[in-house]
C-alpha cells in the first residue's frame, strides 16, 4: 500500500493520530480543568513558611510514599472528611521557572495520606521528633529519618526550638537537638495541610463502595473498636504501651485523668486538646478534628481505662454524649 511504503505518509499518519488523541485525552481536559476550577471560598493560600516547607517536601521526594488525595471510596474515609475535589488543587500553580506545578497527589501510599494531616496531627512537638527519627514515636515505621534538618547544640539559646530526643537516639552525642529553620518550615507546611470546609449548604460528593457489614453492625448497636481508634488517633504520641514518651508525651498508664472521676476534663482533653503542662508537648483537638461522636469517644475511654493495667470504671455513650455537648459549648465560648 502506498501509505505503508512512503515513510513521510506513514510516520505522518501515525504522528497525527497520536497528537490528535493526545489533544483529546490530555491537553484539552488539562486546560479545561486548569481554567474551569476555582479554589473554595474558605481556602487559605499557603503561608510564606509553608511555601518554603513545601519546597523541602518536594526536594526530599516525600511524594514517593505519601499521597495527597482522598479518593471517593469508603476505604479512604480515614484520610479526610470528604473526597478531594478538583477545587482543592485549583490554587496550585507552577512552582518557579525551573520547576513544574506540584499537586503532590502521588501514586504510592507506603506512608499515610497527608491531605488532612494538619488536622489529624497538628502537634509541632510530635512532628519534629518524628522528623528527627520516626522510630522514636512509631516503632514500626520505615520512614527515613531527617537528622540533617536539625542541629546539635551544647547550649541552646532561648529562641531555639529544642526537640526532646530520647538518649538511645542521640547515638552518644552530648547536647540538645535543635530544629533548623528548614525543619520548622516543613512542619509549618504539614500543619497547613487541612481539608477545606465546603461552603455551607454544599453537599460533599459521596464515598463510594461502602462497606455493608459496618452499617449492619452500627444499626445493631455494636460499639466501634476502641483499640483500633486508639491506634489511629492516639498511639503515635501516647504509644501502644500507654507509656507516652518521657519529656514529650504524657503516659496514660496509671494516669489520674484516665483513672479518675473527672470525666468532664477527660472528654474535654480528647475533644479539644490540652496545654496545661510545660514539660509535655501541646495536645491538639484530636477528637474534634477527627469528628468523633460519643460512640468513638466512649470506645476510646473504655479502651484506655481497661488497658496496660488500668482498671477504671467503664462509661456509656449516653453519659459521654451529655458531657460532649457541655464541653463543646465551653470550647465555643
Amino acid at each position: 500500500m502506498e501509505l505503508f511504503d512512503n515513510h513521510k505518509k506513514l510516520f505522518g499518519t501515525a504522528t497525527i493520530m497520536f497528537i490528535g488523541l493526545t489533544i483529546l485525552v490530555a491537553i484539552m481536559p488539562a486546560i479545561r480543568n486548569q481554567d474551569m476550577n476555582q479554589p473554595l471560598p474558605s481556602a487559605e493560600p499557603l503561608s510564606p513558611e509553608a511555601v518554603k516547607g513545601k519546597a523541602i517536601f518536594v526536594a526530599n521526594g516525600c511524594v514517593a510514599c505519601h499521597t495527597q488525595q482522598v479518593r471517593n471510596v469508603d476505604m479512604d474515609k480515614m484520610w479526610g472528611a470528604r473526597p478531594s475535589l478538583a477545587a482543592d488543587y485549583a490554587d496550585i500553580h507552577r512552582t518557579d521557572f525551573w520547576r513544574n506545578t506540584a499537586t503532590l497527589m502521588g501514586t504510592e501510599r507506603t506512608g499515610p495520606d497527608l491531605t488532612d494531616i494538619g488536622s489529624r496531627q497538628p502537634s509541632k512537638d510530635w512532628n519534629l521528633v518524628h522528623l528527627y527519627n520516626p522510630r522514636i514515636v512509631v516503632k514500626e515505621s520505615i520512614m527515613p529519618a531527617y537528622p540533617w534538618l536539625f542541629k546539635l547544640k551544647k547550649e541552646p539559646s532561648k529562641s531555639d526550638v529544642v526537640v526532646n530526643v530520647p538518649a538511645e537516639y542521640m547515638r552518644g552525642k552530648e547536647g540538645k537537638i535543635v530544629a533548623t529553620e528548614d525543619a520548622l518550615y516543613l512542619v509549618a507546611y504539614l500543619q497547613s495541610l487541612k481539608q477545606v470546609k465546603l461552603p455551607d449548604g454544599t453537599q460533599a460528593p459521596a464515598f463510594l463502595y461502602k462497606k455493608e457489614e459496618k452499617k449492619i453492625a452500627s444499626a445493631a448497636g455494636a460499639e466501634p473498636d476502641g483499640k483500633a481508634l486508639y491506634a489511629t488517633g492516639c498511639q503515635s504520641c501516647h504509644q501502644a504501651n500507654g507509656e507516652g514518651l518521657p519529656g514529650a508525651f504524657p503516659p496514660l498508664k496509671r494516669s489520674p485523668i484516665v483513672m479518675g472521676d473527672n470525666l468532664e476534663m477527660y472528654v474535654d482533653i480528647i475533644m479539644n486538646g490540652y496545654d496545661a503542662r510545660a514539660e509535655y508537648g501541646v495536645m491538639s483537638a484530636v477528637g474534634t478534628n477527627m469528628e468523633w461522636t460519643e460512640h468513638e469517644v466512649t470506645a476510646i475511654i473504655n479502651y484506655e481505662r481497661t488497658s496496660w493495667g488500668n482498671n477504671g470504671k467503664k462509661v456509656t455513650p449516653e453519659e459521654i454524649k451529655k458531657i460532649m455537648e457541655f464541653v463543646k459549648l465551653k470550647a465555643a465560648q
Binding site: 501515525a14 490530555a26 518536594v58 521526594g61 475535589l85 500553580h93 520547576r99 513544574n100 499515610p112
Partner: protein
Amino acid sequence: MSALLMKAIPADGQTTTPSSFSFSSAAGLTWLLFVVLLVLFFAVLILKQKVNGIQERHKRKTDAEEQEQLQRYTRNLNSKQISKLINYRKRTRATALLLLLTTVLSLLPEGKLWAQSTNVPSSGSLLGETGIIITIILLLIPILFAVTFLIVKIINALNQAKNQQHLEEAEKLAAYLRSLPEEEINTHLKKRKAALDYRLSHHELSGNQPAEDEKGLLQINEQSGLPIVAIKKKALPRPNINPALSRLILWYLGCATFWLLFGTTIGEYVGIKFVAPDADHVSWLSFGRLRPVHTNAVFWGWASLGMLGLGYYVVPRVSNAELANIKYGWYGLWLINAAVMLGTVCLMAGINNGGGEYREYVWPVTLLFAIGVIFALINFLQTIARRTTKEIYISNWYIVAAIIFAIVITIVAYVPYWQNGLGETIIQGYYMHQGVGMWFMLFTLGIVYYFLPQQLNKPIYSYSLGILAFWTQILFYTLIGTHHFVFSSIPWWLQTVAIVGSAGMAIPVIAGTTNFIMTFKGAWYKIKDSYTLPFFLVGIIFYFTGSMQGTAEAFRSTNLLWHFTDFTVAHSHLTMYGIISFFLWAGIYAIIPRLTGKEAPQITIGAHFWLALIGLMFYTIPLMYGSTLKGLSWIEGKPFIDSVVLMAPYWLWRAIGGSLMWLSHLFFAYNMYKMMATRQVVDVREAAIQKLYDPTTPAQTIA
C-alpha cells in the same frame, strides 16, 4: 492470579472476602463428595479388571490349547534363557530345571467385590450448617481410610493367587522343556538365539572415517565428556558492518550497561531501606531522593541507551542502507549520558521538577535528553529515506514512531501552559504511561520484530498482525494514562476512558504475542542451542502476562484493592524488567558477537539469565501477595501502621529477589567485557595464519 483476585472483589465492593468458595458451604461439600466418589469408581474399575483376568486364567483348558500355550512360551524365551536351556540339556538331561525367573500367576476368584457406597447423608437444609459439614467430613475420613485399606488388601490377595497359578504353569513348562527333542534345540532355538544376540557395530552409518566438516555447517564436538553448560551454537560473523557504526553501537550498549549497574545498585539500596530504614542518615542518600535516581537511571540511562544502540543496528540493516550520519549518533550518546548524569546529581541534591513520576528531572536536564533523541530521529528518518527496499520493514515503523511519540510526550509534559491545578495530574498520568508504552514498549517491539526472526532464521509469522498491533497500540495506549488516578478528583469520564483503553490494550498485546509465539512454531528446538532465544521467550511471556496484568489493574474494582500498594511496583518490574530488559539483553547478546567476533562464556550468560529470572520472581510474587493483603487491610479499615507491619516479610523477600537481579547484572557486565574487551587474547589460529603470510612481523590483533 489477577483474574482470581478480580473476582475476589466484586464490582460493587460490598463484601471484602476474597472468594465466596469455601469448603464448609454446600457447594464445597458437593465437590468433595464428587471427588471421593470418582476415586472410588476408579478403584472399583481396577478391581474388576483384575478379577476378570484371574477368571480367564482359571478356566479349564483343553490339552491342545495347553500344548499350544507351552509352545508359545518356548518360542518367546529370551537369549539368556535359551542358553541356559541349552547348557542344561548339554550337561544333564535329568536334573531339575530352574528356568523361569519372571513372575506369573493363578487365583481364586473372591466373588464379586463391589465397593461399598459411602455414607452420604441425605441432603437438606442441615447441610448448610457448618457443624454438620465438619462432622460429615470427620466421619468420611476414617471411612475413606478403611476403604483404601480394604482395596489394598484385596489387590495383595489377588496377586498371591496369581503367582500361585503362574508357578503351576511354570512346572508344566519345565517338564515340557525337558522333553524337547534334540534337533528342535539345535535348529530352532540356536537360530533364535543368534537372532536375539545380534548387535549393531555402531559404524553402519558413519563408517570408520573421522568426522569432517566440508561445508562449515557442522558443529564437531571434539571433547566428549559431560559439559557443565549446554553447548550452544556460536554466533555467525557479520563482516559487512561499517566499523565506525559498530564502534558507535558498542559505545551505546556499553554506556547502557553502566547505567544498568548504577541504576540497579541504587535500586537495590532503596529496596534495602524498606527493611533497614536507618541504614544511613545522609541527605543525598535518603529514600525520597534515591528512588527517582533509580527509576530515571534505568529508564533514560539503561533502557533508552540500550534501545537506541540496538536501533542504530536495526534501522540501517532493514533499510539496506548505510546509516545517514554517524556523528549525530555520537552527539545523541553524549547528550543522553550528560542528561542522566546531571539529572542524578540534581535529584540527589534535592533539585527536582515537582514530584511527577519519571519527570523528576528539571527541564534543562530533560532538554538534553530530548535533543539527543531528536538527533536519533533525524538520523533514522534520513536512513529510511535512503532505503534500497521499497517497503519499510515493520521494525522501522515501531522504532521511528516510538521516537516521534517520545518527543511529543516530552513536549506535552514540560510545556507549562496546561499544568496548573488538576491539569498537572492529567498530564502526569498521560506522560508517565505514554513514556512507558510509547517509548520503551514500542521501540522494543521494533527491535524484537527484527531480532526474533533473525535469531530463529525464519520470517515473522504474520506481517499484518504486526501492523494491526501497531495501530491498535496507538489507538488504545494513548487513552490509558489517567488510569493511575482512578477515584481521584479528575473527571470521572476521563477515568472511564482510561479504563476502556486499558481493556482495549488486549488487542495489540494478544496480536503481538500470537505473532511472536507463532514465529517460534516449528523452531522451538532452536531454543536449546541458542543463548539469545531464552531471553526472547521470557520477554514474550512477560509481554503477555505483564501487559494483561496492567489491564486487570486498571478496573475500578481492582483499584480498590491494589492502588497505592506495592502491587504497582511489582507490576512495573514485571514489565520494565521482564519485558524491556530481557528483550534488550536478547538483542545485545545477538549482535555484539557479530560486531566484535567475541563471545561471552556460556556459563556466565546462563548465570545472568537464571539469576535475573529467578530474582524477578522472588521480587514480584511476594510483593504482589503482600500488597493484596495490604489492600484488604485498608478496605477493612484497620489502622494504617498494621499494613506497614504486615508488609515487612514481603519487603524482605523483595530485597532478596532484588539482590539476585543485581547479581545477574554483574554477570551481564562481565559478559559485556568479554564480548567487547579490546585487550584481546592472541588467537593462536589467527596469529599462525598471519605469520605464514608475513613471517617478519609479530602477530597483530584484529579489533
